[in-house]
Symmetry: D2
Subunit: 295 residues, 4 copies
C-alpha cells in the first residue's frame, strides 16, 4: 500500500481520493478550500491545511486541478511541490492541461530528479465516483508500472499513451473527436426528424454503418433512446458542455502550437463557445442539439 | 425467382445485376452505353437496346444511376418507365438522390398504381461485387418484403428505414456522419503525429473511448494501420471523394429544404468541395487527411 | 406615366407601390390579404380583389413576394399572370429568389413573348418607404431602359447587373458578403472589447485599413457608435436576421447548384440559422454579435 | 534628429531602417545575419556585429522580427536589450506578436523604468520601401508623441490605438477582417462567374452596397480588374498568404486567451492553413480564390 499526497479535492478529486483510500492507500490531502474536510475524514483521508503537510512523506503526489496554470502554481517555483517532494516520489498529474504545460512539468521534474506522469482521465464525475475512470498516461513505461497499483484504485483502464505529454494528447484528441461526433450526430438526428424518420431507426442503421460513432450508438443527444444517458434526464449529470469547451480549446491550442489546421475541431470549439455563452455550459455536451433545433 | 428489368449498368449497377442473375433471377438490362453488353451476356443477363425491352415483362424495375435528374428522366413523363411498367411491378430505385426527388418518384408511382421503394446502398463497388451491400429502404414494409428476395441477391443487410424517402434520409445522414468522422479522425491523427504520438496508439485508445468512430477504428486515413483499407493502398479502390462530396451536397440540400443548419455537415461539404477542386476527387475519401498535412 | 399592376403589398411592396403612385403612375394592386386596402386607397392606388383586375390593362406587372414558389404561383400555369398579361407588358419581379427560379421566369416569359426583368432590391423597409431603394436588374438592357422611369419612382440607384438572373446573383452575392462582413466585424469588436480597446478606436483604424467593410464603418453592431443604425436602437427597424438568413440560404443554394464550395458563406448561413432558431430572427442582423458575447 | 538602434533587418526591417536614415536619423543596426550589411552601409546605416553596439547610445530601440519569441529573446533576460538600454531610451517594437507577449514586454520595460510602444505596421514590403506604412501604436500617448518624428520617417499614418498591447489588437483585428473579407469576396466572384456575371459588374454593384469591403473594391482576387494589385501580377509581390496565416493564428490565439469564439476568424485560419499546407504560402493572400475554383 502506498502513501499518497493528493492535491485538488474538487468534484473529480474528492471521489478519486476516496477510492484510493478505499483501496487501502494512505491518503493525505490538500485543497485551497476546506469544504472537503468532513467528507475526506469520513473516508479515511487525512485533510491537511498546508500542501507541505500533504506531501511531506508521500510516495506519490497526485494532482487534480482545473487548469495548467494551477498545475504550475502547485508544482513549480522555489516553494512548489517539486522542490519539497521526498526523493523518489512519483508525480501523477491527472488534470487536463495543455500539452506544452504537461511537458514543461515533466522537464521541471527531470531537473530535480523526479519522475512525472501526465495522466488525464475520462469518465467524468460518475466514473470518478464509481472508480471506473480511464487513465491515459504519458511518461516512462517503468514509472507507469510503479503507479499502476495506485491508478487501479481509481480507474478500470490504464493506457500507456507514450512519452511525456502523450496522455494529454490522447485525451485532447479523443475529446475533440467526441465533440465533433456529438455535433454531427445531433445534425443527423435533427435532419431525420425534419423528414419524419424516427430517431431509433436512424440509430439502428447508422450504428452498424460507416457513420457510426460513440455519440450515435452509446450517448445519443435525443432523449428516450437509451435510459441512462444525460439526454434522457434533461442533460444533467453528464460531461458539462463547459468542460468539453475547455478541452476543445486545448485542442485548438495544440493545433496552433503545431501549426496544424483543425477545421472541424476549430468549428466545434466555436459552436460550444457560443453554446456556453448562451448560458448552457452546465448542461451535458449532448445538449448541443438545442443549438440546431432551437430547443 | 423473379423477372428483373435493370437500368443503369455502371460501376455499381453491373455487379449488382450480375449478383441478381447469379442468385437465379431473370435479369434484362438497359444502359445508355453498350459497354456492359459483353460482361452482362457472360453473366447470363440479357442486354437490351431499348429500355422498353428491359422492363417489358418485369416484376421488378431496378435503377442505379448517378443523379436524381436521371432517375426522373428514366421514370417520369409520357415515355417514362412508370408509364410502361406492367401492372403490379415494383420499382426499386437504388440511386442516391435528393429526398424530395425520391418522394416525387413515390408520388408519381402512386398516381399510376405502382409501388416504389427508395433503396440506396452502402458498401461501394467492392460491396456491389461481393454481394455484400447494405440496402436502406424507404417505402411500405409489405413492398419491402416482396422485394427482399431480390435485394438479398445483391446485399447482406436490408434495413427498413421507414416511409417513402427514408432510405435516402438514412443514407444521407450516415454519409454525412462518415465524412465528418473521417475529417476529425484525420485531424486527430495529424495532431498526434505533430506531437510524436504513434498513430496505432491513438487508434487503440480512442477506439474504446468516447471519441470512437468507424473512421478511427475501421477505416483509418493513416496508411499501414490496417491492411485492407484504401489508405494502405494509396487511397485507391475505395469510396471516391467525389462521391462523398455528392452525398454531402445532398445532405446540404436536405438541410436547406428543411431550414435546418448543419454546421459541421456544411463545413465538410466545403472541405470536400475544395479537395475535389484541387483534383483529388478520384481518391478515396480518407485521403482528405492530405488537406491538413500538405502533399 | 405608366399603368402598373402591383402584386404583393406587404411591408416592402406597399411603400414601393405608394411611391410609384406618388411619382404619377397609375397603380392597381392585388394581394392575398386585404389588409393594405385602406392605406392603398389613401395613396391613390386602386386595390383589386382579383389579380386579373390588377393587371388587366397594365404596361408593367411588378411583384414583391417572399418566395420563389410564390413568384411561380403568381406567374406560371394556365391561370397565371403571364397567360393573362396584355401584349407588350413588361414583367418586373422585385422578389429575392433563387437564380434558377428567376431564370425559369425569364424563360417562361420568353415563351409567351413577354419580357421579364429580375429586379431585387436592397435598402429594406426604410429604403422602400423613402423611395431610396437600390435595384439590381437582370435582363435586356433595352427592357431596363423601358422600366427605368418606373423604377426611379421607387429607388435611387438602378444597376444593370447583366443577363437574365443577374439581378438575383448580384443581390445574393452582396448579401452574403454583408452577412460575413457583419459576423467578422462583430468578432473584431468583441475581441477588442475583451482586451479593453474602445470600439470607436477600432472602428477609426480599421475603417481606413485593409479590413474595412460596410459593417465596420457604416453599420456597426456595437451600440452607440453611430446614431441611426439598428444597434443603437436595440436592433429594431433594420434588416431582420430572418431575412438575411433567407438570402444566405439562396447563396448556399446557388453554391450547390453551381457545385461551388462557399466556406464562409455556408458558415454564415449556419450561424444565422442557429441565431434564428434561438428566437432572434426579428432582430436586425447586426444583433448576431449577441451570439459571440452571450447578450 | 534621433539616434536609433534598429534590430531585425529583414524584408521589412531593412527598408524601414533605410527610410529612417533617409529622414535624417542616425541609425545603427543589428541582425542575426550579416546579409544586410552592404545595403545598410550604402544607405548610411551603421551595421553592428553585436546587438549591444547597435543600442549602446540610442534614444530609440526599434525591433522588427518575425515572432514574439524572438522579441522576448531580444529584450528580456539578464543579457537582453532592456537590461542594457540607456536610461530614457524608448522601445518601439514593430513586430506583429501575441497581445499577451506585447503586454509582457511593456511590463518588463516598466519594471526597468523604460517606456515601450507596441507599433505593428500594415502596408507590407512595398509600404516599408515607400515609407508609407501605417503604424498602429499601443502605449502612452506621450511616448507616442516622442516617437512620432521617428515613425513619420517610415510611415504615413500613425494611429494611437490605446494602452499597452492595443497596437497588436488593432493589427490582429484588422487582418482577421481583411482575411475574411478576402475569402468571402473570392466566394462572391467565383459564384458570379459560375452564373456568367462579369467580375467588373459585381465589383461595381457591391462596392456601393452593404457588402462592400476593401478586398472587393481595392484588392480584388480576380486578375485584371485593377492594374496594380497582386492578382493582376500572378499573386506576386503582395502580402504573403503565410504572413496572413501568421496573423490569423495570432487572432485565434487572442480568442483562446479571451475565451471568445471567433467562428469566421477561426474558419479563415483553417482555410489559410490548408492553403499554405498545399504549398501556396508565398503567394499573395488574394490567391485564396484558387482554393475555391481549383486554379
Amino acid at each position: 500500500m502506498a502513501r499518497i499526497g493528493f492535491i485538488g479535492l474538487g468534484r473529480m478529486g474528492l471521489p478519486m481520493a476516496r477510492n484510493a483510500a478505499k483501496a487501502g492507500h494512505a491518503v493525505r490531502a490538500y485543497d485551497i478550500t476546506t469544504a472537503y474536510h468532513q467528507a475526506a475524514t469520513e473516508a479515511g483521508i487525512v485533510p491537511c491545511n498546508r500542501v507541505d503537510d500533504a506531501i511531506a512523506d508521500c510516495e506519490f503526489a497526485i494532482t487534480m486541478v482545473p487548469t495548467g496554470r494551477q498545475v504550475h502554481e502547485v508544482y513549480l517555483g522555489d516553494e512548489g511541490v517539486l522542490a519539497k517532494l521526498p526523493a523518489g516520489a512519483l508525480v501523477i498529474d491527472s488534470s487536463t492541461i495543455n500539452i506544452s504545460e504537461a511537458r514543461a512539468l515533466h522537464d521541471a521534474g527531470r531537473t530535480r530528479g523526479l519522475a512525472v506522469l501526465d495522466a488525464p482521465v475520462s469518465g467524468g464525475v460518475m466514473g470518478a465516483e464509481a472508480g471506473t475512470l480511464t487513465f491515459m498516461v504519458g511518461g516512462d513505461a517503468a514509472d507507469l508500472e510503479r503507479a499502476r497499483p495506485v491508478l487501479e484504485g481509481m480507474g478500470h483502464r490504464i493506457f500507456h499513451a507514450g512519452a511525456a505529454g502523450s496522455g494529454q494528447i490522447a485525451k485532447i484528441c479523443n475529446n475533440m473527436m467526441a465533440a465533433c461526433g456529438m455535433i454531427v450526430t445531433a445534425e443527423a438526428f435533427a435532419l431525420a426528424k425534419r423528414f419524419g424518420m424516427p430517431a431509433e431507426t436512424l440509430r439502428e442503421i447508422v450504428s452498424v454503418s460507416t457513420g457510426s460513432c460513440f455519440s450515435m450508438t452509446n450517448y445519443p443527444p435525443v432523449p428516450g433512446l437509451l435510459p441512462n444517458v444525460p439526454s434522457s434526464r434533461e442533460y444533467t449529470n453528464g460531461f458539462a458542455a463547459a468542460l468539453m469547451l475547455k478541452d476543445l480549446r486545448l485542442a485548438e491550442q495544440a493545433g496552433l502550437d503545431a501549426g496544424l489546421p483543425l477545421p472541424l475541431g476549430q468549428a466545434a470549439a466555436a459552436l460550444f463557445g457560443m453554446f456556453c455563452s448562451a448560458g448552457h455550459g452546465q448542461l451535458d455536451y449532448s445538449a448541443i442539439i438545442k443549438m440546431l433545433e432551437g430547443n
